[in-house]
Structures are given as C-alpha cells and as structure tokens.
Amino acid sequence: MSLIISAIGQGLLWSVIGIGLYLTFRILDFPDMTVEGTFPMGAATAVTAIAHGVNPVLATILAFLVGCVAGLVTGLLYTKAKIPVLLAGILVMTASYSIDLRIMGKPNQSLLGLPTLLSGKFLQSLPPYFDSVFVGFVVITVVTLILIYFLQTDLGQAFIATGDNENMAESLGINTDNMKIMGVSVSNGLIALGGALVAQNNGYSDVNMGIGIIVVALASIIIGEVIFGDLTMNQRLVAVIVGSILYRLVLLLVLQLGFNANDLNLISSILLAIFMGLPAFESRFHLKHVLKRGLKND
C-alpha cells in the first residue's frame, strides 16, 4: 500500500514536468529538448540554495526562474537566430550541464539534515509518503489553475493559435515569435520547478538526473491522451496529471515483476513507443475492426 501511495506522490510531483512539456510539445507543437537540461538545473539551483540557507519555498521559486531563463535562451536561439528548435534545445541542454556543475560546485549535492519543502512539522506528522502527495497536489493544483486562467485570456488564446496555425496567427496580428519565446520559457520554468520538487523529495540533486526526462514527461502526456481520447483544453491538463500518476503505477508494476531500476529507461521508452505508435498500428491493421469481429464470433 505504501508503495502505491509513494507512486501517487511521485506522479503528482512529476506531473508538473508533464504539464510544462505540454505547453511546447502539444500547444506550440514542437519538441523541446531543453527540458533534459532544465530539470537538473532546477534541482541544482534549489538544492544549492537550500544548502546556503535559503528558505525552501524561495529556493523552489528561484529554480522556476532559472528554468525560465534557460528556456528564454532556447526561444531566442530558435526564433531570432533561426536555429532549428531541436538543435537549439540540445545546445542549451548541453550548456546547462556545465552550468549545473558551476552551480553546485560538484556533481551532486545532498540535502541530508537540511530543511526542504517536505520537512515541515505538519507534513512530517502525516503517514509515510503522504508528504509528497500533499506537496505534489498543492503545487500541481496551483500550476494547473493558473494555466487554465492563462489559456482563457486574450494572450493565452493568441498563444494557442500560434501553435495551431502560425500562418493564421500572423495574419491576425499575433507576434508569433514572442508567443514561442514565452511558451518555451514558461515551459522550462515549470520543468525546473519539477526538478526542484523531485530533488527535495529524493533528498539530493545530481547533474545526471536529467537523462530521459523528456520521455517521462511525454509518457504522462501520451498515456493521458490514449486513455481519455477527445477532451477540451482544460480537461487535457488534468489528463496529463492522471497520466503522470498512471505512469508511476506502471513503473511500480514493472519493478514488482522483477525488473530492476536500471531497466526503467528502456522500459519507459518501449512503453512510450507503443503508445505513440498505437494510432498508426490501429489504422494499418484495422485493430478496432478486428477486435470487434473477434468479440462477435465469441
């Protein structure tokens, strides 16, 4: 039972990352590799700040801001320097490795004995693992509500239109470059925020903790979409959160089956490939049709 609670807590904390990637991957409609760099950068920033005596809440907000700046750089490289977005992201991701080492001064930093967002008296009085559930729930609720409000504003609608039909957005007077820069920046801010949360939950930060983040974030988006199908924009954000929790539960299941933690990246990638390929296979082999016929004959 406590394993399941832990998985839900992890899912809630990681859903911030799923929501962050959703802004670029689904709304702006391009893959942003910067996230692999901003996740450990957020972790490094928050952990180092806390180690220097900064209040954990401030340290977490600082991580968000640092992520925004990294995203801003990617956005500028993409829109102003006209570097393809995939490459722009990879450049910032690569550079951030050095920056993380500069921030921490070493490859990893422990939070042992230091205060974190999860170390308050109230949180420690909860049953085991409920601290991450509580913090994750509060943070993701606030983030989602702010995003829902934003997407219903004039600016939010211009942002959505930019990803939906850039040509049209421009012909309606929307500065699409600015929309992309804003989107990449906020997206990476959220990813760094996620990094800060995960590091505080794990009790340490490591320069290598960013590997495979984009796959994890994509998994929560895709699982949500495959399960819930057609949804409105607001429902989609909630679907990402549910997808993130389900993904953690699937990983838990996989570990229970006897695989070890080192296999997780392989398994995550295979899972994601299956989910993303599903629509193509479905139409190619008329899966639905075949399934229906199979059921009838029974």
Partner: protein
C-alpha cells in the same frame, strides 16, 4: 473622385538577382487603389499575382519602389503590423483557421486582429449570440457549429469562416487570393455571393485574384490583368460593365 487609399509606386521585385535567371516578377508596377474599389485581378500562372499580394501584405519586401497606405510609407512595415488595417483570405481553407480551436474562438481572435493580446479574460460567452447571428448569414450551418473545432468542418464551412474572420473587424484593405477556387461549384457560388454582398454592405476596399473570367467580369468595379510582372490591362467603371467575355478572351490571346 474617391480618395486614393493605397498606392504602389514604381514597385520592382527581382528574383535570382545577379544570376543569368534574374527576373522581375513585378516590373515597375504603379497602382492607385481608391477607397471602396472592388478590383478583380486576372493573370496566367507566373504573371505576378501572388507576388503582388505578398508585397501588399508585407510578406515580401519590394526590391525597389514604395508601398503607401493612407499617405504613409509602409514599404518596410512587418506583416504583423499591417494586420491592423489589412486582412486576407487564402486559397487553401486550412490556412485561414486554427484547426484545434472552435469556430467561436477563431471568430473572437479575428475580432482582435491587429490589437494587443493582454493577460485579460477573453470573455467568449457574452459574444456567442452575436457570433450566432453573424454565422447564420453564411447559409451553411456554421451557426450550429460554433463550439466545434474548425478542423472537423467541411472545406466550404472553413473557407466561409475564413472570410468572416477577415471581415468581422472591418479591414482597410481586404485581399482575396482565389478564395473560392478550392470549393465545389455550388459552395463556391454561395461564398462568392456572400463576398459580394459583404463588400457592398460594408463598402470595403478589396482586391480579388481569380481564374474565372466570368467572376472577374461579374464582380467588382475594376478589373486588372497582370502579365509578365506588369499591369497590362486596367479597366473600371462603365467601361468594365460593357466589357464582354469575348473581348477579354481576345485580349488574353493577343498578349500570349
């Protein structure tokens, strides 16, 4: 004589500059557009029609010459800035609407064309009734699909929506780039009728590219023929009304 609202002054657009393939796709074009003009534009492929529109719209900078709107030089003004007075409907229905946004959301965005997009609530609900009335005029069931994503509309409905979006906030200049060419004859006729009505009703200044000689003759008060980057024929008023299809065909055969 009505006021001149838009001018091209000696506009040249050269491609493949300094190579043997150097070509003026717009070759010293002078054009005065008067307020309320509805100009139909004919021309074979490669005559420079699209380049003309892209120069007016700001997608292309002329190699030389001036673009003037209401006595102001806008030659170097960006596409985004020009949208405050200019709107456009493209041939491809996919280009004019955002597929994942609903019909109503598209209309709301279009109404804010050229304005600033602030962090304030969009206030969509209060506009629904008005949008329903506007879309009802299109005679194609669009008014019952206000909450549908435009990606699942038919091509005709999408194009009708694109046209509505281009005119919902009155533009100083409206560019129609073969906007009915991708539609079936009946749908195309319906949209063309609505186009003509709207232009008359709102007294819009409009340029329309078409490949149909009949449409070019039937609609508008002025007709241009582009040929090899030059305006080779410019007829308006009573002369245009008297022009027949045969005369126009003879003219076309002569310039080939």
């Amino acid at each position: 004589m009505t006021k001149t609202i838009f001018q091209l002054k000696d506009v040249v657009k050269t491609v493949n500059e300094d190579t043997p393939e150097e070509l003026n796709i717009l070759d010293h074009v002078d054009l005065d557009i008067h307020e309320g003009d509805f100009i139909t534009i004919l021309g074979s492929n490669g005559a420079g029609k699209s380049t003309l529109f892209n120069t007016i719209g700001g997608n292309l900078r002329p190699t030389s010459g001036q673009v003037i709107y209401k006595d102001k030089d806008i030659t170097n003004m960006s596409v985004v800035k020009r949208t405050s007075f200019l709107s456009r409907v493209f041939q491809d229905p996919k280009l004019g609407t955002a597929p994942r946004m609903t019909v109503a959301e598209n209309l709301l965005l279009a109404e804010k064309r050229g304005g600033h997009h602030h962090l304030v609530p969009r206030k969509l609900k209060g506009e629904m009734k008005r949008f329903k009335n506007i879309t009802a005029k299109m005679n194609n069931n669009l008014d019952h699909r206000l909450n549908t994503a435009t990606g699942s509309l038919s091509g005709g409905q999408r194009q009708a929506l694109s046209f509505l979006m281009a005119t919902i906030k009155k533009p100083g200049i409206l560019l129609l780039d073969e906007h009915t060419a991708a539609l079936d004859p009946k749908t195309s006729q319906n949209l063309m009728d609505i186009t003509d009505e709207t232009i008359k009703e709102q007294n819009l200044t409009c340029l329309m590219i078409t490949h149909h000689l009949e449409d070019a003759l039937k609609y508008g008060n002025r007709l241009l023929v582009l040929h090899q980057g030059k305006i080779s024929y410019d007829i308006s008023g009573e002369d245009k009304k008297k022009l027949t299809k045969e005369e126009l065909l003879t003219f076309f055969n002569d310039i080939q």
